[in-house]
Amino acid sequence: MANTLIDGLKERISKAITINQSVGIILPGNNYSDLVQALFEHIISRPEDAWVYVTITKPYENLIKQFGDLSDARNIKFIDCISRAAGISKADPNCIFIESPTMLEKLGLEIINIFKEVDENTDKYLILDSLSTLIIYNDPEIVTEFFYHLENKTRARNIHTISLAIEEEGADKYLNKLIYLNDKILKVRDSFI
């Protein structure tokens, strides 16, 4: 069942991100692992593209341990916004560590700096994991402002974005507003259509 879901997700993500500049993915918490697995598998299948994965949810080290297979991948760079805040980061050439999930300006700069070093003709993709966790650590208004800035910058540079929003009980009004700024919304459900 999980594999069907992952395959389905991969297909939908692939289609959506090819056509649309920005994709928002709304998912129940329990489908997080499936989605990240699908994203990682998609990334591996596209070595010619350049990817940046921003994690505020889980430390880089734990993502790699859990979803694996990316240590040799040359087409992805990580930005970890949570490890340093918890005092647990080790230096890694494949990951940039940001001191705190509140350093949003620095995060924006690092994202653009990574893509500046990518060839102009390479397709560029950014994954933001996740808007929900950003709102845990920051005022929602600042996250909104940050997201607007980020979308403007990435559009100007032809960088496709995938933003995750993890659903919880009592939907966050800011999160709903934010996620719908994307060109395309994918809603993940167990009975995947």
Binding site: Q66, A86, T102
Partner: protein
Amino acid sequence: MGEPFKKIESGEHIVWITQPNEVETLLKRREIAFNVAKGKLADSKGNAETVMQTAEAFGRGLSAEYIKKKSDGWTIKKWIKPAVENIFNPMGIAATFTKITEDEAKSLIFRCQLHEESNEPQVASVFTYGFLRGMLLSAFPNGELIMGSTMAQGAPMIEFTFKANASDKDRFERERIKNFFTDDIKKPEE
């Protein structure tokens, strides 16, 4: 709150992030307790109650050893700091507390070695629940630990709410957790 946490504050909006710093002896003890729980689970042919009891005993033991009793009684706010400093952090548990009041604390665990390295995440879930519950009830006999999302079910974090005083509904939580995971735990046996 002091050093066991990094505090991120803006007006009334405050969160606290634990500062894990693994202590080998404590990790070893948890590993031993977890193996004992798994052994009992196998012997009882998948009875999750055995895991729960072993874990709770482990939690109570740690609490007695590392968290000194308060003569004037605990509040959640006072209890959280030594619990994090002496148990969470040395066990390498990274969590964000989104709420800490006199009666309640809400946490999101985003890194837990036991869950991430175990081949049996469901058993790890019951064990973690049990040992934290054992810790909590040592200080708050009328309290309860409520679990929301869990990594074992695919969520990115484990959500725990520590309550000093359980409501009538909260008192069913232990049973709910046990039953929730029972089928998953039994599956390998079938």
